[in-house]
């Protein structure tokens, strides 16, 4: 049996010594608690800051946007090397001195400096701030000269959007900095935050944005509590944006843009079988490059306050009464509905009185006795008043819709307007009033409530020219259209190829059904009659566009002029015979022209609109003539490119 040796004295000794240990423990507890107070309460702020800095640093960079090319591979929107200056606030020794020095070197405005300071405050100190995203070479070299004194700034060579031609500013659109609205509307932008990121704002840049923008790349660094990069953890190069080939012809774009110089208006050209938009030009144009790096307030104000609204793509957003260009459609509608026949004769004495109102023909002396062909050829208004009266607005509007008016046709262009195809129901709903018969008469010559875009007129002409089939426009190669759906199905590719190479392509026989197109006619003779009348209007003496004809057989085209009034002409003004040029600019007539070419084997349709340009024969038709000539000269080249395609991808 082992028992306690030493007894109570030993136990007392243990107790005494334990007391000393307890005292020592108390000291240690005070030490630990003191340290906790010092770290977590007194110095907590400092450590919180350190902890915040204590992260992985990520440097994200914007990928190069995809390139937009024309049909022949010419780059319309591409990328160029730019010199940028980035500033990393936490690397700067003294931020305010640094900014002051940069301000002097780059001669920045106070406004620009305060913007940068604001940006610095809004983000983490290790996130780079772009001081300038497009330095000139002189500025870039000056920065490099002083670089050793400018700790915290980094000159960077990057890529940015560049538009070489201003002829396509509207159809291509432009890119600019991401706005709050963009973030709300484009979900894919949520993962796209990167310095220097640009987003498509209008035109194709906007339409194709989600694909053309690419994927953001990043470099991730592990950094320590002192902000020093320890190592690169991961790198992701991102993905370049997808490039696109379009159906546009840059050379025609340039020519068209030049022809519209100092005028306000637009030119559209379309392939009548494939629906390929070859030209879409609006004038006056603007420099889209200004938006890439942030447009100055002065330039912006200039664009916004310009009388002719350079930013508006008039080809799809400009709304004009179609004027006489609609007469072909009115004729088709009347013939298809068996309201009249081509033989109907009407006497034109310069005006006609109906429903207690006087309706005037453009030709004061009148056309005498006219049949339908002559009425189209010489654009007799009185004849079409009578046709419209018999036809009625509702049947006319039905035909107009079938031929592409009153709806958006170019997919994905948010700026496209639908226009107005008036009828009784529309008026009741939109204006709240009943339809007057007199309004039907005005509508018969393309005045009144009509609102059409030049692109719609071009499409309408294409649908007439191709024999009355519902071709749809497209602008991006490989994009789905009825035509490409057919190609995918490969139902009858051989006959398709044959069809486009054959002489019969203007005659749209049974093969056209295979194209997936729906005929818009009951009797194709009616369509052909109008086509033939258009030929007369351009190629026979007395025709409204006879002066603009091309006499070489393979270039011969057929078209219809239009002069649309923007004001009501009073009786007094008629008496005075005021010339259009003598009117104030805003009151002058719009000049319109639609045509298809070549007449023998139609391939293309065109529409030209010149705002306040006077009569269609005087201004629009001569422009169309020049475009058609170039278009037909370039046709073999286009055909060659088409034949070399293996599938319609880029």
């Amino acid at each position: 049996m082992i028992s306690d040796s030493g007894g109570s004295s030993k136990i007392r000794l243990i107790g005494r010594r334990m007391f000393i240990l307890t005292a020592a423990k108390a000291v240690v507890v005070f030490g630990v608690v003191g340290r906790l107070i010092s770290l977590q309460i007194n110095e907590s702020k400092k450590y919180k800051t350190l902890s915040d800095k204590n992260r992985f640093r990520e440097w994200r960079f914007a990928p190069p946007r995809g390139i937009i090319k024309d049909y022949f591979g010419e780059e319309i929107a591409s990328n160029q090397k730019v010199f940028q200056l980035h500033l990393i606030p936490e690397n700067a020794e003294n931020l305010s001195t640094l900014i002051f020095r940069l301000k002097n070197i780059l001669k920045m405005s106070d406004n620009a400096v305060s913007k940068i300071q604001k940006k610095i405050k809004s983000q983490k100190p290790w996130d780079p701030v772009i001081v300038s995203d497009n330095l000139t070479w002189a500025e870039f070299s000056r920065i490099n000269l002083f670089l050793h004194e400018l700790q915290g700034v980094e000159p960077i060579i990057s890529v940015a959007r560049v538009y070489r031609e201003q002829s396509s500013s509207h159809v291509i659109g432009y890119v600019s900095k991401i706005s709050k609205k963009d973030l709300q509307q484009k979900n894919y932008l949520a993962n796209m935050k990167a310095a220097g990121m640009r987003v498509g704002k209008t035109g194709l840049e906007n339409k194709l944005d989600s694909e053309i923008i690419g994927d953001v790349g990043h470099k991730r660094y592990e950094v320590n509590a002192f902000g020093k990069r320890i190592k690169e953890v991961s790198i992701d190069q991102g993905k370049n944006g997808k490039s696109y080939k379009t159906t546009l012809d840059l050379e025609l774009q340039n020519l068209s843009s030049n022809l519209l110089k100092d005028k306000a208006g637009s030119i559209c050209v379309m392939d009548i079988y494939r629906g390929d938009i070859i030209t879409m030009v609006s004038s006056p144009t603007f420099d889209p490059n200004k938006f890439v790096h942030g447009i100055s307030t002065k330039d912006w104000k200039e664009l916004i306050s310009h009388r002719d609204k350079p930013l508006v793509n008039k080809a799809i957003s400009g709304l004009y009464p179609p004027g006489s260009t609609i007469k072909g459609l009115v004729a088709i509608s009347a013939l298809e509905n068996d309201v009249v026949n081509t033989k109907m004769v009407q006497q034109c004495s310069g005006s006609i009185e109906l429903y207690g109102e006087k309706f005037h023909c453009w030709k004061k002396k009148g056309h005498g006795f006219v049949d339908m062909r002559k009425a189209i050829k010489e654009s007799c208004d009185v004849y079409f008043y009578e046709v419209a009266r018999r036809l009625g607005i509702d049947r006319l509007s039905e035909t107009a819709r079938a031929f592409g008016l009153g709806d958006t046709m170019v997919k994905g262009f948010k700026e496209e307007k639908i226009g107005v195809v008036p009828n009784t129901k529309w008026k009741k709903q939109r204006i709240g009033k009943s339809w007057y018969l007199g309004e039907t008469l005005h509508s018969g010559i393309g005045q009144g409530y009509w609102q059409t875009t030049p692109m719609q007129l071009c499409l309408m002409t294409a649908r007439i020219a191709n024999g009355g089939y519902d071709v749809e426009p497209r602008i991006v190669l490989g994009e789905r259209s009825k035509f490409s759906i057919f190609a995918e199905k490969k139902k009858n590719p051989k006959s398709l190829e044959e069809f486009f190479n054959s002489d019969k392509s203007n005659e749209f026989d049974d093969t056209t059904i295979d194209l997936g197109y729906k005929p818009l006619f009951r009797n194709q003779e009616n369509i052909n009659f109008v086509k033939e009348a258009f030929f007369g209007a351009t190629n026979e003496p007395g025709g409204t566009s006879y002066g603009s004809r091309l006499s070489k057989k393979e270039f011969m085209f057929a078209g219809k002029t239009g002069t649309s009034q923007v004001r009501r002409i009073t009786e007094k003004q008629r008496e005075l015979e005021i010339k259009n040029e003598d009117l104030p600019y805003e009151q002058r007539d719009h000049s319109l022209y639609v045509a298809f070419a070549p007449y023998n084997e139609p391939l293309y349709s065109i529409s030209v609109v010149v705002e306040h340009g006077g009569s269609g024969s005087k201004t629009a038709a001569p422009i169309a003539k020049k475009v058609i000539k170039k278009l037909l000269e370039r046709h073999p080249l286009r055909q060659q490119v088409h034949n070399n395609y293996k599938g319609e991808d880029v």
Binding site: M1, I2, S3, D4, S5, G6, S9, K10, I11, L13, I14, G15, R17, M18, L21, T22, K25, V28, V29, G31, V32, V33, R35, L36, I37, L39, Q40, I41, E43, S44, K46, Y47, K48, L50, S51, D52, N54, R55, F56, N224, A225, F226, K228, I230
Partner: protein, 374 residues
């Protein structure tokens, strides 16, 4: 009270349960619960490997704690020497068949768990020395013959553990032993001699240190010396704790820990993680629970009548306190990083097992205080 109750020869299980120290048991349980949350957070807010395994271990060893409590103190007294020798044998075994991890050979592969005998030695040595001083009379304590045996019993395992190498654990084993010797009444001068000897041998000892160990000590003296290397842990731990502030960043929101800035967050730096997420109030709560545990053990020691019981309880309480203090001092940047787990909180089976055995014996002393050791 003294000697009022007769020496009971038999206690029913019911008696034993009722005589458990409730405060101590609850405190242990509380630490266990807190450790689950902390572990869950280190797993990135998922019920993953470390959390599961920690909970299972706690359940097993908490049960072990009760089992040990209910076994008579005389059994533990009787098997103290055997326990010590057994652990010593395991320590020698580790030298030959131990598992090596990050350059240190510390573990025995027991298939169901990797046993770290050095952790058990923390208890083994205290138990052995408490029994030793229980047996000899107070007059003999300072005799040279009776000094040599405890010194050898202390140095042998400490040297074995140092050469594993495991500086932290060997230090904690030594501290536990020295406390028993001190409480037993060994004169101050011997401690002075020992201290002097230690200082003299220090240069020699340093030459034996591994480069990383030297670097740790140097870095402690000047953390900014190498902020990306050895000073990294101290700096990061201080940032984590400091950034926790008064109320912490919130459960599962410790950015330091989540971004992997905290080294060994499961084990030695578990307190850092908890402090970051629960702030000053969280840290103080844990500290207070540990102090409460220590205080209860000392209190139990007060009620005991045998010098074995008193020596064991006082020493274990002090050692337990020192484990806590060393771990906290380390993560707070007060002392060099030595690798000492926080009792029960830290992930690690052997450490938890040792602590639970130690606490179990304390509780056994309390339950069986009126029974003789014989």
């Amino acid at each position: 009270m003294f000697r009022s109750g007769s020496i009971q020869s038999h206690l029913t299980l019911r008696d034993k349960i009722f005589s458990l120290d409730l405060t101590l048991t609850i405190c242990i349980f509380l630490i266990g619960i807190i450790s689950f949350f902390a572990m869950y957070s280190t797993d990135g807010g998922q019920f993953a490997y470390h959390t599961k395994s920690h909970i299972i271990r706690f359940i097993i060893f908490f049960t072990l704690f009760f089992v040990i409590s209910f076994i008579k103190t005389s059994f533990w007294y009787g098997s103290a020497t055997l326990f010590y020798l057994g652990v010593l044998f395991l320590l020698i075994l580790v030298k030959y068949v131990g598992l090596t991890s990050s350059g240190s050979q510390r573990w025995l592969d027991l298939y169901f768990l990797n046993l770290q005998p050095s952790e058990l030695m923390k208890i083994g040595l205290i138990l052995f020395l408490a029994k030793y001083y229980h047996k000899i009379s107070s007059g003999d304590v300072n005799k040279f013959r009776y000094l040599a045996q405890p010194l050898l019993a202390l140095l042998f395992p400490v040297i074995l553990v140092i050469t594993q190498p495991d500086l932290g654990t060997s230090f904690l084993i030594a501290v536990g032993g020295v406390i028993v010797v001190w409480l037993a009444g060994v004169k101050m001068k011997f401690f002075a001699y020992l201290g002097g000897l230690f200082l003299l041998s220090a240069p020699v000892a340093i030459s034996f240190l591994k480069p990383y160990q030297k670097s740790r000590i140097l870095t402690f003296i000047d953390p900014s010396r190498d902020p990306l290397g050895a000073g990294y842990q101290i700096t990061q731990s201080k940032i984590a704790i400091g950034s926790g502030g008064l109320f912490g960043k919130g459960f599962l929101d410790g950015s330091q820990s989540y971004l992997d800035y905290l080294p060994e967050k499961h084990t030695d730096f578990i307190f850092t993680l908890f402090s970051e997420e629960f702030g000053f109030f969280g840290s103080m709560t844990i500290l207070m629970i540990y102090i409460l545990i220590t205080w209860r053990i000392v209190n139990i020691g007060h009620t005991l009548r045998t010098s074995f019981g008193k020596l064991y309880c006082y020493s274990f309480a002090t050692a337990f306190f020192i484990y806590v203090a060393v771990n906290m001092g380390m993560v707070l940047g007060l002392i060099p990083i030595v690798g000492a787990p926080l009792p029960i909180m830290s992930y690690g089976g052997s450490s938890m097992m040792a602590i639970m055995i130690g606490l179990g014996i304390v509780m056994s002393c309390k339950i069986h205080k009126d029974q003789s050791l014989g």
